[in-house]
């Protein structure tokens, strides 16, 4: 067993898991979802979702990886033959998300530099789409081409070089090490941003908009679904990351105690981000003479259009901008490496590849796909449609398949619960089984079915239906087909059986043969 293929302790694991969970969504998704979902009243469905789905699912995935000691496909295979497909589905989703997620980090890298000179001028939206991303207009934007935009491709290549070096250094020497540096740095930067934002005129109006409770929102089913969705996406559950990471933990590791720390760190950070983002939006609203609701936004629009506008208006905006986009890069990279690791460990397990071969062969292939498809004049629409389908069908679908298979198909929740209690301080029991076996299948099932109906009836945004069919539905269904094909490929002799159920030393992922 290679030493660098195991976390040296739970502290390293906790930082790596927080690094995975805290990503772009904490900064640019949570604040808007909370604002839209009843403001201060949103804390109720949010905490209910955290307790009834987020934390129980986190424990479940930790238990799978730690008990069955493998990558997502290998752990699922050891749970029960056909369940391996769920693991490959998670690997496929991770592949797709990694190749476009890296691109957004590359944008953020460029925006650190743009902040220093406020390069976007008077029109940050037009600058982003036209001058920086050089997106083709009209129908041409839906012809996927290979016309590279060097201003995006070069930082993207550097991001991939950095990520692959981290993977080459391994789970402990690479991923855990950068997480233990980047996460405290990220929190420190965000604290500076929040303090600065709170001293801006109008900041209080922003906080008022974020926290004034609209209790009627609690009777709206959509708000509850949004809260579960936020918890589900934010905690990075469903990707196979937590299975992969916990498989690299020592036998006697406090899984539930660590999981609680990871879950509340993730929520604590997004609450901090919410305060920072809305204090800043309050300033923008006051400077423009409009209501906070008129400037509130999420995602790319918030980070790459609204924030540049604010940075240009604010005294000392350049410094604020450099810090904000540095925070995005730090949060993004620790999440990116966790997603890529799912793919690398899985391929190592199944095909017996060495670390070097998987990092530079498989990781290199991911980098090439990422570089060919996204830093192009047609990359933005492709990123948008893949993101929507990978999240709403991929992650939600794989999460749903996981809980139904475990609780109702294989009926192995008892085994996993016993394992958690054997190694952990915070014990789980009937309540945990009810949450995983009943509550989460219902919630995820509702989210999945309503998304399918909505996409079939309404399409996706303004995109041509043929484009959505090919790249949206095509990618979603394609991942399932690939998952089944990879499951049908036989394992190398002895790999599936080679895990010890006792307390002794056990083979590690990627080192089974």
């Amino acid at each position: 067993m290679s030493e660098r293929q195991q976390f040296t302790g739970r502290r390293a694991f906790i930082f790596a898991a927080i690094g995975s969970a805290v990503g772009l969504g904490n900064i640019w998704r949570f604040p808007y979802v909370a604002y839209e979902g009843g403001g201060g009243a949103f804390i109720v469905p949010y905490l209910v979702a955290l307790m009834t789905a987020g934390i129980p699912l986190l424990f479940m995935y930790y238990a799978i990886g730690h008990r069955f000691r493998g990558s997502a496909p290998l752990s699922w295979r050891r749970l029960g033959g056909g369940a391996e497909s769920i693991g490959w589905w998670q690997v496929g989703i991770s592949f797709v998300i990694a190749v476009y997620y890296a691109v957004i980090i590359a944008w953020a890298v460029r925006y650190i530099g743009f902040s220093a000179t406020e390069a976007w001028g008077e029109e940050p939206g037009a600058f982003l789409i036209g001058q920086f991303l050089q997106q083709a207009e009209g129908d041409a934007g839906f012809d996927v081409g290979l016309s590279l935009v060097p201003g995006v491709a070069i930082p993207l290549a550097l991001i991939w070089v950095f990520a692959l070096l981290v993977h080459w250094r391994g789970i402990q020497g690479g991923i855990a090490r950068i997480s233990m540096i980047f996460i405290p740095l990220l929190v420190a930067i965000f604290l500076v941003l929040v303090v600065r934002a709170l001293t801006l005129p109008g900041a209080i109006d922003g906080l008022d908009a974020l926290f004034t409770p609209d209790w009627s929102a609690l009777t709206d089913a959509d708000v509850w679904v949004a809260a579960y969705g936020q918890i589900f996406f934010s905690l990075s559950i469903g990707f196979g990351i937590m299975i992969t990471y916990s498989a690299h933990l020592k036998r006697k590791t406090n899984l539930t105690g660590s999981g609680l720390t990871v879950a509340f760190s993730n929520s604590g950070f997004e609450l901090l981000a919410g305060i920072g983002v809305f204090a800043t939006l309050g300033f923008m609203a006051q400077a423009s003479g409009v209501a906070v609701g008129d400037v509130a936004d999420a995602g790319i629009g918030l980070a790459f259009v609204a924030f540049p506008t604010i940075i240009s208006t604010m005294p000392g905006g350049a410094f604020f901008g450099v810090l904000f986009f540095t925070a995005l890069v730090l949060a993004g990279i620790t999440s990116l490496v966790s997603i890529v690791e799912v793919v690398l460990t899985a391929i190592e397990d199944k095909f017996g590849l060495s670390r070097n071969a998987s990092v530079f062969g498989v990781g290199g292939a991911m980098a090439i796909v990422s570089l060919l498809l996204f830093p192009t004049t047609t990359g933005l629409n492709l990123l948008d449609v893949l993101d929507a389908f990978a999240n709403n069908f991929g992650i939600v679908g794989a999460g749903l398949a996981s809980v139904i298979t475990l609780a109702w198909g294989l009926r192995r929740l008892g085994v996993l619960g016993d394992h958690l209690n054997e190694v952990s301080s915070f014990k789980v029991g009937l309540l945990w089984k009810l949450m995983v076996g009943l509550v989460t299948p219902l919630i995820l099932g509702f989210m999945f079915v309503s998304q399918v109906i909505s996409r079939i009836q309404d399409g996706y945004g303004e995109m041509p239906s043929g484009y959505v069919a090919l790249y949206g539905w095509g990618s979603a269904i394609g991942l399932l087909v690939i998952a089944v094909i990879l499951t049908l490929i036989p394992w190398r002799k002895g790999v599936v059986a080679a895990h010890d159920t006792g307390q002794g030393s056990t083979p590690q992922p990627g080192k089974e043969a």
């Binding site: 201060g40 804390i43 926290f211 660590s258 720390t261 929520s267 604590g268 609450l271």
Partner: protein
């Protein structure tokens, strides 16, 4: 900032950050078990004392 907004901000901070503090305190009360003899605490097993 309205009184209801102030109250809900405090409630959210206390519950979420309080939860984080409680989780960290809980973890600190259950120190990591050392699997092997590890005198220099570097996570790698060391040779046990000869006496």
């Amino acid at each position: 900032m309205g009184i209801s907004a102030v109250i809900m901000m405090i409630v959210a901070l206390v519950l979420v950050w309080g939860g984080l503090v409680a989780a960290v305190v809980h973890l600190s009360h259950h120190p990591e078990e050392v699997e092997a003899y590890d005198i220099d605490d570097d996570g790698r097993p060391d040779a046990p004392p000869s006496t």
